[in-house]
């Protein structure tokens, strides 16, 4: 690794001041699981790293009636093991079990996870479907962004270089909303996803009151088609409608061909996994 100076602010205010002072010469350090690899490969060479992972209190997981708040330095493993998360957002805990490996989850932080903005991340589809937002601090004061606003494209967020994610807010899911995260890996089973689908349904009697379907890894930003979701709303679960929804997601996917599969292959897997995810969510919601 090329030498750099590791700065260790004790508060978020200090971290934001250091960011303002050093601008593009500095980079935030979360768990460092990803950043240390980029540093070794010399893909990035900042003069300063600002360690936010060890700021006291920034790893707090708290909740009130309406919102779960994950401090940006919460590790993925702490979120996965949190009783509050398991009780209120079990799909998030479930999705976390498939992220990388135990050592990565022990250090990687939720702030670093989202800021990295790789399209192959597992949590963005789940968090988008749950309507999560980020609390951002910087020179302009506090700002809030939905995840839809946060993700701009491949490895790109709407954050200014002088801003940091301080927390992630997840609204408490409405009663009855049931979901799944289905991850498909075409290489080893604990690889990054080839396709990842979060599907949530809420039943009103025998009909679908609400559908939320978000697909990760197959487009520059998490893929959500509200017109397709609307095909399910107010309907009983039927295989024709589910197949049509799945086809629309397959058609809308715009994946990059890589070692995990060609464009066409990934579109087809998207279709199959959207169908399976909706079916699994329907079972959990008592619709099937």
């Amino acid at each position: 690794m090329r030498p750099f100076d590791l700065l260790q602010p004790a508060t978020v205010d200090e971290a934001v001041a250091l960011l303002a002072q050093h601008g593009e010469d500095a980079r935030l350090l979360g768990g460092g699981a990803m950043l240390t690899i980029l540093l070794r490969q010399r893909l990035v060479a900042p003069r300063y790293l600002i360690n936010v992972a060890d700021i006291p209190g920034l790893n707090a997981i708290s909740s009130d009636h309406n919102t779960l708040r994950l401090g940006a330095a919460s590790t993925l493993r702490a979120i996965e093991r949190s009783d509050t998360i398991r009780a209120r957002c079990p799909v998030l805990a479930e999705a976390l079990r498939s992220v990388g490996n135990i050592r990565v989850r022990n250090v990687a932080t939720i702030g670093g996870h989202l800021a990295h903005a790789d399209v192959h991340l597992d949590l963005p589809p789940v968090l988008c479907a749950l309507g999560a937002s980020v609390v951002v601090l910087g020179r302009h004061g506090d700002r809030h962004f939905s995840l839809d606003e946060l993700f701009v494209g491949y490895y790109e967020t709407c954050l200014a270089p002088t801003e940091m994610i301080a927390a992630v807010d997840v609204p408490t899911p409405p009663p009855g909303l049931q979901g799944v995260y289905l991850k498909y890996c075409s290489l080893s089973p604990n690889d990054w996803p080839t396709v990842g689908v979060a599907a949530f349904l809420r039943a009103d009697g025998e009909r679908i009151a609400e559908a939320r379907i978000v697909v990760g890894s197959v487009s520059p930003r998490p893929l959500r088609l509200t017109e397709a979701e609307d095909l399910l709303r107010g309907e009983r679960l039927n295989s024709g409608a589910v197949a049509e929804v799945a086809r629309r997601y397959g058609r809308a996917a715009d994946p990059l061909p890589d070692i995990r599969g060609s464009e066409d292959y990934k579109r087809r897997v998207t279709e199959v996994y959207v169908r399976r995810a909706v079916e699994a969510a329907a079972t959990r919601a008592g619709l099937a």
Binding site: R2, P3, G32, T36, I37, G100, N101, R103
Partner: protein
């Protein structure tokens, strides 16, 4: 930039100076001459460098040494002692859970943590927890058997002792291991 750090490694307190860009693995092997943690992939993929930081397995190849200041670190050298091996180490020997043994320190430390968290894991739970530790010699069958066997042997399984989180034991000499 240089950092004054205090690392408690296997129960022994080390006050030292580390540079910002040094990894924990470099400090363990280069400064402390503890060669149990190995480097293979250098990217958090293989687990050869697995080290426990405050009781949790991390990839020391990708963990900055300066972040370890004030923390408790356990390497394979601190898990057991000759004549008083950790149950996981005993089980690996009894089941021949290695060939070349390059992966073994990481496997044993990860398994020890798994059993601290979950004293009676199922085969699937073992596979899930240890999926990020790779064995090039493919001793996986024996490794899973050894972890299952060790599960029955963990001391005080009913009363969590948290030895893997043990802080400083003494300034020099050995920690109480596990």
């Amino acid at each position: 930039m240089k950092h004054d750090v205090t690392l408690t490694v296997n129960g022994r307190v080390h006050r030292m100076v580390v540079e910002s860009h040094r990894t924990l693995l470099e400090v363990l092997r280069g400064e402390l001459k503890l060669f149990g943690a190995r480097e293979s992939c250098g990217m958090s993929l293989c687990g050869a460098c697995t080290t426990l930081v405050d009781g949790l397995p991390v990839s020391s190849c990708s963990y900055l040494a300066a972040r370890a200041n004030g923390r408790s670190i356990i390497t394979i050298e601190g898990l057991g002692r000759p004549g008083a091996l950790h149950p996981v180490q005993e089980a690996f020997l009894a089941h021949g859970a290695f060939q070349c043994s390059y992966c073994t320190p990481g496997m044993v430390l990860t398994a020890a943590c798994l059993l601290e968290e979950n004293p009676a894991p199922s085969v699937d739970e073992i596979k899930e927890y240890m999926a990020g530790n790779l064995c090039r010699c493919a001793s996986y069958g024996e490794i899973v058997e050894a972890v299952q066997a060790a599960a029955g042997q963990m001391p005080g399984a009913s009363a969590p002792r948290g030895p893997l989180r043990a802080g400083a034991v003494q300034e020099d000499g050995h920690g109480d291991g596990c």
